[in-house]
């Protein structure tokens, strides 16, 4: 297939919009921490994008999209972008590569949730390279690069398992290894800058249109379907989470935006397979499920600080299963449970479970390893004065 000007223009724009989601995650998380860690949260997102950019063009892309080895990982045929050029199938190979780079970058940024306000920047950088190489890249290969999940027929349109289950369950493992913040459960650690979180949420909602629609890899009807269901699911999640928190108190804007993100996460794997009415249900139930997961996490006294597990892990898991329920051949060529194909539901369940277990286990091992070699955590005094000052020598507190 020759290069299409329309598709190429569309995916270039989508790549730029998805890039904006990474600082979006930083702002989204930054507003939820105490002010002494605000710069640190935003900076870690930029750091994620920078290190993954280099990792991806050197080894990451080939490990994800190189020729398949045993269904597990890609070969080294595209090492250092060897053979990734300006020609391609509809869009240039190089454009596909950089579009995927933006996904890998934002995924590492989501992982920072589990270590907010207590990780050493240097350790995060080392962990980030290892994590992207050994967790993200295999998962991307499984789903999109011809790995076992791909061969099995598992559906993941835009990264429900690759991006969200991986970072959500990874963040949970990371939080368990690094431990709770000092004073967690004793002192108030409420969000100190909600408007910044709302701004980050706005960037995510906006960028997600490109994230899901761009995953069609063409400027076509499927991309439009993805964009439409993405917005519906976000809106539905925002409403249900807000209503649920209303019952327990005030309808917080933090709940509203968290619900929107939960809806966005849940529709991600199915955005090219399900229709608009299914999206209302998928997003709405994601809002309630993720909110319950958050309450469960708090009850357990676990400091997975900014709820990547509750929102991305649980939301991504639900999204993968929901794709197996609501997929319809009229949209993406595959039927789910509701359209008489229970096999797809089972495949989705297996794929999501294996991804969750692998992401959790591998992240746990990597975190332990980095902790042993260089220590994951800052000293108690550094944590007390905040990572802005202790890691960056900067401060937002005048």
């Amino acid at each position: 297939m020759p290069i299409s000007a329309g598709d190429t223009a569309f995916i270039i724009i989508c790549t730029a919009l998805v890039m904006l989601m990474t600082p979006g995650v930083g702002l989204f998380y930054g507003g939820m921490v105490r002010r002494k860690n605000l710069i640190s949260m935003i900076a870690m997102s930029f750091v994620s994008f920078a290190i993954v950019s280099i990792q991806w063009v050197t080894v990451g892309y080939t490990l994800s999209f190189g020729s398949d080895i045993a269904g597990f990982i890609g070969g080294l045929d595209h090492l250092f972008l060897n053979g990734v050029g300006m020609d391609g199938d509809g869009i240039p190979d190089m454009l596909f590569m950089v579009f995927q780079l933006a996904f890998a970058g934002v995924t590492l940024a989501i992982l920072t949730s589990g270590v907010a306000g207590r990780i050493k920047l240097s350790s995060f950088m080392v962990l980030g390279v290892l994590w992207t190489t050994l967790v993200y890249d295999p998962l991307a290969h499984w789903a999109w690069g011809g790995g076992w999940a791909h061969s099995l027929g598992a559906l993941d349109f835009a990264g429900g398992t690759v991006v969200h289950i991986s970072s959500g369950f990874g963040a949970l493992a990371l939080a368990l290894v690094i431990g709770n913040r000092v004073g967690f459960g004793k002192y108030s650690m409420e969000a100190e800058n909600v408007p910044i979180t709302l701004l980050g949420g706005a960037m995510l909602w906006f960028g997600w249109f490109a994230f899901n629609a761009g995953s069609a890899l063409a400027a076509d009807g499927l991309a439009v379907n993805a964009l439409v269901v993405t917005n519906i699911s976000a809106a539905s999640g925002a409403i249900t989470w807000m209503l649920a928190s209303w019952i327990k108190g005030k309808p917080s804007s933090l709940g509203l935006i968290s619900g929107a993100v939960a809806g966005l996460v849940a529709i991600t794997p199915g955005s090219g397979f399900v229709g608009p009415m299914a999206a209302i249900f998928i997003g709405g139930s994601a809002g309630l499920l993720c909110y319950s997961a958050l309450l469960f996490r708090v009850r357990k006294g676990l400091d997975e600080s900014l709820d990547a597990w509750a929102v991305h892990g649980v939301g991504g898991f639900w999204g993968a299963i929901a794709t197996g329920i609501f997929a319809t051949a009229a949209i993406g060529g595959v039927n789910g449970l509701l359209y008489g194909n229970p096999g797809q539901f089972v495949i989705q369940l297996v794929d999501a479970s294996v991804a969750a277990i692998y992401a959790f286990g591998m992240t746990y091992i990597l975190a332990k390893l980095v902790d042993k070699i260089m220590g994951l955590r800052v000293t108690e005094e550094e944590e007390y004065v905040g990572l802005d000052i202790s890691q960056h020598g900067e401060s937002t507190i005048a």
Binding site: G183, K186, E381, I389, Q391, G393, I397
Partner: protein, 117 residues
């Protein structure tokens, strides 16, 4: 001019406590439990005898010489001073450097803005 007789009339003291910001909720609750509600709170920065915190970062020393604190300002009857300072001490204490200080000083005059007292 200060009216010297007022010292005998007011019988009130000003209690100013500088505490750790993360202890504010605990201190507020402890004071509330004993019936002491009125207070003014400010976010302040400062340093004590330890001259702030020194942290080691990549081999070099970084000095954080002023640390965020919360100042609680209360004007109370003489007989309440001791119970209040005891309550603050108990609830704001961690035992480490930087727990803060409490200052007590006399009040000359109290004028309500809404009421005419």
């Amino acid at each position: 001019m200060v009216n010297p007789q007022l010292h005998e009339v007011t019988k009130m003291k000003q209690v100013t406590a500088i505490i750790r910001p993360e202890k504010l909720e605990e201190v507020k609750t402890a004071l509330e439990d004993r019936g002491y509600f009125p207070m003014t709170i400010s976010e302040v920065k400062g340093r004590g005898a330890q001259k702030g915190i020194c942290i080691q970062y990549r081999g070099s020393q970084i000095k954080v010489d002023t640390i965020p604190k919360v100042e609680i300002y209360m004007v109370v009857n003489d007989e309440d001073v001791r119970p209040i300072t005891d309550t603050i001490r108990k609830s704001a204490r961690t035992g480490k450097f930087g727990d803060g200080k409490i200052f007590v000083s006399p009040i000359e005059e109290v004028i309500g803005i809404r009421t005419d007292e």
